[in-house]
């Protein structure tokens, strides 16, 4: 390397130094520490004791975990499905010619919940979900639907968390899909029209393929985020009734910071990490089949 290249390299690493140092101390170091910690018994107050595979044995025999993982997976699937499908449908509907005021209004009201704090809106939704006095059951009753014990029945508790999540983050996908729709070159549709293609055909063969990169992004991003759901069950249901709406991250929190089993909490956290990484890699692999890059 010539002196200019050496200088450029040194400068580059100097610019990268702060962020790399931060990652080392607060991300990569702790990630390795979490692996180590999963082989220890540690309650924070007394020194850690080596536990071998005990935490892992416990992990595979923990009678509560299947239910908790199932809740989380149910949340993830419904959350990703609903935010994607509804977000896409809304974007396609909103992408038609309309008055600028309506355009602004619609974009604003669907996107606004995205910016609010999940913890704070959970406080509001807790009352909306109230069985006898909540407005959700009131309007469902007007439609002839029976009273639903949203937060207190083991059947509905996880769905009350799903619906809150979908309401809150729908706008994120909506905005992305709108941007994506506006990126599709007009001439593609014009050509299809000349060829006499039906509306459905041009949606199926032009709109959907053009949107696949964004669909891929929203699905991957939705998965990663949904697996980490914590604030809403923590505030709405505290995981109940029983374990009916407890999520993996709530269980990590409780194991670590209520029962002070830092080692076991790390084991659960690692399982979550492995699942998220594997699923993400599978999605990247599958994307070669269904995502079209122009």
């Amino acid at each position: 390397m010539g002196p200019a290249r050496v200088r450029e390299t040194v400068v580059a690493y100097a610019f990268l130094l702060p962020v790399c140092l931060g990652f080392l101390v607060f991300v990569f170091g702790p990630a390795l520490a979490a692996v180590a910690l999963s082989f220890f018994d540690y309650d924070i107050l007394t020194p850690p004791r080596f536990a071998g595979w005990m935490n892992y044995v416990h992990f595979f025999h923990d009678p509560r975990l299947p239910q908790i993982y199932l809740n989380t997976v149910v949340y993830v699937i419904w959350y990703v499905l609903l935010t994607t499908v509804i977000g896409l449908a809304l974007a396609v509907a909103a992408n038609r010619a309309m008055h600028a005021v309506f355009r602004y209004l619609i974009r604003t009201v669907y996107f606004f919940p995205v910016l609010t704090s999940l913890a704070s809106v959970s406080l509001v939704w807790q009352y909306l979900y109230s069985t006898d006095f909540g407005i959700i059951n009131y309007y469902l009753g007007r439609l002839g639907i029976q009273t639903i014990p949203w937060l207190t029945s083991s059947r509905w508790a996880i769905f009350s968390i799903i619906f809150l999540g979908v309401w809150k983050n729908l706008g994120f996908n909506f905005i992305l899909f709108i941007a994506g729709l506006q990126n599709i070159p007009r001439h593609l549709y014009e050509a299809a029209e000349i060829d006499g293609a039906a509306r459905w055909a041009s949606f199926r063969y032009i709109t959907v393929p053009s949107l696949t990169p964004i669909l891929f992004f929203t699905i991957v991003w939705g998965f990663i985020n949904a697996f980490q759901v914590f604030d809403s069950p923590f505030i709405l249901t505290t995981g109940g009734p029983g374990d009916a709406s407890r999520t993996v991250v709530m269980y990590i929190y409780e194991s670590g910071f209520r029962f002070f089993q830092m080692g076991y909490a790390s084991t659960i956290a690692l399982s979550l990490f492995i699942i998220v990484v594997v699923l993400t890699l599978i999605q990247f692999r599958l994307s070669r089949i269904w995502v079209f890059y122009q």
Partner: protein
Amino acid sequence: MESGRSRMRLFDLALVGGLLLGGIVMMMPFAWMFSTSWRLAKDSFSLPPQWLPTTWRIENYQEVFASIPFVAFVFNSLKVAALITLGQLVTCSMAAYAFARLRFPGRDWLFLLFLSQLMVPQQVTIIPVFILIRMMGLLDTHAALIIPGIFSAFGTFLLRQFFLTIPTELEDAARVDGAGYLRTFVQIILPLAGPGLSTLAIFTFNFYWNEFFRPLLFISTWEQMTLPLGLTVMRGYLGVGNVAAIMAGVSMGVLPVLLVFLLAQRYLIEGITLTGIKG
């Protein structure tokens, strides 16, 4: 042909109507929150629901200030979110400059490592980070929230994407004039990157203004709490009985978000588009 066109118009009208109706449903929780915050607590659950405030009871708002250190919560949230934002702007823009403009061995490999970090859920590292913060004696301080927050893979990625869209002519001219890397970065890139920096600033500020999980773990005393945590604790403190005061508190927490949103909608939407589409 004529009737076909008018049917199209009708279809469009129905679509806009449907979207607006859906928009009203989206806003209902906020309407209920706001109108309830101005009522007597005992009227909070009156059915059928009243969407607009029927009374203007300022007492509910006064109770928020009387029962919890609300001003301190707002101040703490502002401080934590602002300092993290400032820190991220500095560290991320430096790293983004290196990735977008400089050639060095290991660049692509390092960038991939940065991106892979977006897959690591925060909860995987939170226990060792908690132990680290505790060892440093930083529990129940704002530093516990701020210091780990000022480095961001997402921020680096966003700014790199933005820097790549800036034409290089000005930099080349500056280099010919003998400007070094640091001067090029500070005097040319940063001024041109205004919109990108604004986008990152708004995202980061919003994220940490709303953050709940880390404050719940790291902060334990009233005086240090940030707003979302403080409001949640207030619920336990006032009991479920006083819905009106809780809604008054939440309303005051949402208001600044609404203001920022109305002022900065363009940057937010550009930022989302930049990460989601061009990424």
